[in-house]
């Protein structure tokens, strides 16, 4: 009630004060009449009444104090005073706010990533109990698990309430009345959706009966597929569609936004997965997830899985012994290898920039505090308590902080928009349709707001505390005895110089990182891709199950090749199993050398295998260093030939000449009968770079597609064409003439493929470069301010020196020397730290040494020039001073 009345008073404050004034006026008049009745003469009446009234102002002040807390009034006063000061010093205020705003902006943008990627809960029921099991191979890549292992875990562990395995593959979706589409499909064991705690929005989920051998095939669509392909028509339930050729009934549509395990357009029961009945211990690539029983711990799960895993390894020697079983929360498994530390590195860089910004503004405030020390000393001298002075400074900083946070929110939005592509998933099947994983939700949540509030507080206090404490300790007596601006105490000058040196150190560290990325990117752009990429478009198609035999597939290749060469839309054309630029995703085959006894104790050696159709080498202009390119005769029985890359030659033959040597390539899995023929090496090509972060180049074997006994069902068609759209339309036309159910997908020009492979490096690099630019900018502002204030403090001294005959050069040197010392110590510190830390970035740098000498020379030189330049501007302005004016100023 009291609070309500208080609030009402505050709202109608103007009226209430007028009422009080009117009331007091009434009181005065009554008093006058009373005095007149007592016979006081007319002339003195007014004065006598006022005397009788006592202190009217006091009455009003005290009455108001009843309603409004006095401290609130004080603060309001301080705020108004601070606002007036900041408005008066607009340039200072703007500099400080932009500086802090940049710091707040980058750290909030970086936090948004961390938050979206690492902190936010998965959109499943009790996501903390969901445990992922995966395996890492020697190179640290996730190899997934095999279905047989999964069944073993499901049967033999006790910590899980339920478990589900899934297998993600590209699938063809086709119907009689709609075009065929290439989509991401996921085969999942029937418990999957129930385990996640998510039910379809319409229709039903999978049941155990759907997941049996020979059960009628069913499929569940994602919400987005339902919308895009059927316009959200509920009549889609019960419809029969072909999933990779298999007629299946649509039984449900998942809720909007649901996705699993990463991105998928449709789900089908595991029993429908091609070849699932023949799954072996070596066919990995399945995702396995389990939901812990209530009370069970991650450690229990880990030890049970490892026990069962060790037993399987003993019973089934074909399991890869070099792999590592990993058991972790699903949340922790979402971010790929190495991405989490990278995100933290980005975040760390951003926080450092915030620190720099704080130090910078602290420096500006400190410098300003010196020039205000006289004003403050007067205030202290006439009785202002010290804490009021401190409060005044802190309020000023809070206002600056508030302004900066508004600016920072805007900066962070801009930075976030620019960077948010970093989370795009480019599916192999649909590179032209980037998607974000379902768990990535960048919207601002409570956590993000909290962080923003934290950066606001941190920035306000971080920038304000040192100057405030400094002022509160100043001795009023000393300051008043000194000249106009007051001499700067040596201690605070050292403080400011140290802060400045720290800033330069940080700026040089970030600049080194940014420079390394820049160099790396440049060298990527200047790396010869070996193959010709201009005006060439690559597209993929995958032959469905009904192309069962090698003869069927090769027949399709021959007929397609005929149609392609006849089509005038293409200036050239060829067909292959994969592209030399994309060996990471290409298939591998086991390699045997003729005359070398197989060693059963060793893992068989593998190499990337690219089956090449007619004219493959010509169309890509893939050069041959020695020997010759493949020709049609190399596909003939008895004359089988192959071309290998230099990496293969070095890896398998060392110093020997590989030309004329014979190798045999076998698909992984049980050895086929009859064994494939021996291939004679007829040529050597250079190694085509894959532009991926540091990893050894792949050994590659090229052999004729038409001579391949086990041709891949997935094919790349490469055509010469300036327009991607025209190429896709023409190829679609040719393919549909051969098979109406075959979609064309992954259409990309080779130039696009090149730029995409460089994108990761570009994204990381641009973040560090942006941070570095901000840090350098801040350091320049800081150095300018420091020098300018230094000079302002010693203006009188300069005047005297110049009056006594000092030359301008000597004065300039006086200040430049100081700038030099600060700069040199900052650079020394920063470069030492950079040398120690940039090797953490090594895994993201393909072609540059993390201690690249050029970077470490150019960066300090550049920074020194820019910093000295900003100092020089300040000095230049100071030396144009007329000694007479400065001496008279006080």
């Amino acid at each position: 009630m009291r609070l309500l009345r208080r609030l009402r008073f505050l709202l109608a404050r103007r009226r209430e004060e007028a009422d009080l004034a009117a009331e007091l006026e009434f009181h005065r008049r009554m008093k006058i009449e009373e005095l007149r009745d007592h016979g006081v003469g007319e002339p003195e009446l007014g004065a006598a009444a006022s005397r009788a009234m006592g202190n009217e102002l006091l009455a009003r002040e005290r009455s108001r104090d009843m309603w409004v807390w006095p401290w609130l009034q004080d603060i309001a006063l301080d705020v108004r005073f601070a606002l007036r000061l900041l408005l008066k010093e607009r340039r200072f205020a703007l500099t400080a706010m932009v500086t802090l705003g940049l710091g707040i902006g980058v750290s909030n943008a970086a936090f948004s990533f961390i938050n979206a990627a690492l902190f936010r809960d998965l959109p499943f029921d009790q996501p903390d109990r969901l445990i992922a099991i995966r395996t890492d191979d020697v190179r640290g890549f996730n190899a997934g698990v095999s279905y047989l292992e999964f069944l073993e875990w499901q049967a033999q562990t006790t910590v899980f309430e339920s478990m589900a395995a899934s297998l993600s593959q590209s699938v063809n979706l086709s119907e009689d009345d709609r075009g065929a589409e290439r989509l991401s499909g996921t085969y999942i064991t029937h418990q999957g959706f129930a385990m996640l705690g998510v039910a379809p929005a319409i229709g039903r989920s999978f049941m155990a009966d759907d997941d049996r051998d020979g059960a009628p095939p069913v499929v569940i669509f994602s919400h987005s597929l339902w919308q895009s392909r059927y316009g959200g028509d509920p009549g889609v339930l019960g419809r029969v569609v072909r999933v990779s050729g298999l007629p299946s009934t649509v039984i449900g549509v998942m809720p909007e936004g649901f996705n699993y395990p990463l991105v998928a357009d449709l789900w089908a029961p595991m029993a429908m997965a091609p070849g699932i009945r023949n799954a072996t211990w070596r066919s990995t690539g399945f995702d396995a997830v389990g939901r812990l029983r209530p009370g069970a711990s991650l450690e229990q799960a880990r030890s049970e899985i490892e026990t069962v895993g060790a037993r399987s390894l003993r019973d089934h020697p074909e399991i890869n012994k070099d792999r590592r079983l990993l058991v972790m929360r699903v949340k922790d498994s979402q971010i790929g290898n190495g991405a989490a530390p990278l995100l933290w590195a980005l975040f760390g860089g951003a926080v450092i920039v915030l620190l720099v910004a704080c130090a910078n503004v602290a420096n500006l405030l400190l410098a300003r505090a010196w020039s205000r020390s006289r004003e403050i000393a007067v205030r202290v001298a006439i009785g202002a308590p010290r804490w009021r002075v401190v409060r005044q400074v802190l309020i000023e900083c809070t206002l600056l902080g508030a302004g900066s946070t508004v600016l920072g929110a805007y900066f962070s939005y801009v930075a976030f928009q620019a960077m948010s592509n970093a989370f795009n998933i480019f599916e192999f099947g649909a590179p032209d349709r980037p998607r974000k994983p379902y768990w990535y939700d960048p919207s601002l949540d409570g956590f993000g707001l909290l962080f923003m509030a934290a950066t606001f507080l941190f920035a306000s206090l971080g920038a304000g505390l040192v100057p405030a404490l400094h002022l509160s300790r100043a001795d009023a007596n000393d300051i008043l005895k000194q000249g106009a601006a007051g001499q700067v105490p040596a201690a605070s000058r050292r403080w400011a110089a140290a802060l400045m040196a720290a800033q330069i150190a940080v700026a040089s560290m970030l600049l080194c990182a940014g420079g390394l990325f820049m160099r790396n990117l440049l060298s990527l752009y200047f790396t010869d891709p070996i193959v010709a990429t201009e005006n060439r478009v690559a597209m993929r198609l995958t032959l469905p199950q009904n192309y069962a035999s090698a003869a069927d597939r090769l027949q399709f290749v021959r007929r397609l090749d005929e149609r392609l060469t006849a089509n005038t839309e293409f200036s050239s054309s060829t067909i292959g199993s994969d592209l030399p630029l994309q060996t990471l995703t290409a298939l591998s085959r086991t390699v045997e050398l003729q005359g070398e006894a197989p060693d059963p104790t060793r893992q068989p050696r593998t190499a990337v295998f690219i089956a090449t159709g007619p004219r493959f080498f010509d169309v890509l202009e893939l050069p041959v260093i020695r020997g010759r390119a493949l020709g049609p005769e190399d596909a003939l029985v008895g004359r089988e030939g192959a071309v290998v890359n230099q990496r293969f030659a070095a890896l398998f033959f060392g110093d020997d000449d590989p030309l004329g040597k014979r190798i045999r390539l076998t698909q992984p899995g049980p050895a086929p009968i009859p064994r494939p023929a021996w291939l004679t090496i007829v040529g050597i090509t250079p190694t085509v770079p894959d532009f991926l972060p540091k990893r050894p180049d792949d050994a590659v074997v090229y052999a004729p597609l038409l001579g391949d006994p086990t041709p891949s069902r997935s094919l790349s068609v490469i055509v010469g064409s300036a327009s991607k759209a025209a190429a896709v339309a023409a190829l679609r036309h040719e393919v549909s003439a051969l098979d109406g159910d075959l979609p064309i997908y992954a259409a990309q020009s080779l130039d696009e493929i090149m730029s995409m492979t460089r994108m990761g490096t570009r994204m990381i690099g641009s973040w560090f470069q942006a941070l570095a630019v901000v840090a350098v900018l801040l350091a320049c502002v800081g150095l300018y301010a420091l020098t300018a204030h230094n000079i302002a403090q010693r203006r009188q001294e300069i005047g005297i020196r110049m009056a006594l005959g000092a030359r301008t050069g000597q004065v300039v040197w006086m200040f430049t020397r100081h700038t030099f010392v600060v700069l040199a110590s900052g650079l020394a510190l920063g470069l030492t730290a950079a040398l120690a830390t940039t090797r953490l970035l090594a895994s993201f740098l393909q072609s540059v040494d993390p201690r690249d000498p050029l970077t470490f020379v150019v960066v300090p030189t550049l920074l020194a020039l820019v910093a000295l330049g900003s100092g020089a501007i300040a000095i230049g302005r100071a030396t144009r001073v007329d000694p007479l004016i400065t001496l008279r100023a006080d």
Binding site: R5, F26, M30, A59
Partner: protein, 109 residues
């Protein structure tokens, strides 16, 4: 003219409430009545009276209304609220107890 001599805390509030028991009054009237009833011993200054009135308003013991004075001037009249009446009764009892207690101390040998 000086303020009320040192009063026990809360006494001025009590006096104001007591003055208003017989009906609405304006600030000047309250001051006048306290002075008259106390035989000029208690002279309440404006700088004490008006803040005290504001405090009573804040606590909800008084209501304020603009009206016309006997000599036809606009004046602000204060009225006791129900809560104010209750509070006054309690305070008068408390004050009596206090006075008796002080008296006992003073009379003790």
């Amino acid at each position: 003219m000086g303020d009320v001599p040192d009063l026990l805390p809360g006494t001025l509030d009590l006096l104001i409430l007591r003055c208003l028991r017989s009906g609405p009054m304006h600030g000047y009237g309250i001051a006048l009545q306290i002075r008259t009833y106390s035989d000029d011993v208690l002279q309440v200054g404006e700088s004490s009276l008006y803040p005290a009135v504001q405090r009573l308003l804040l606590n909800g013991w008084l209501k304020a209304e603009w009206g016309t004075s006997d000599n036809n001037r606009r004046a602000r009249y204060y009225t006791l609220t129900v809560a104010g009446r209750k509070h006054m009764a309690a305070e008068v009892d408390e004050f009596d107890r206090l006075v008796v207690a002080i008296h006992k101390v003073l009379k003790a040998t």
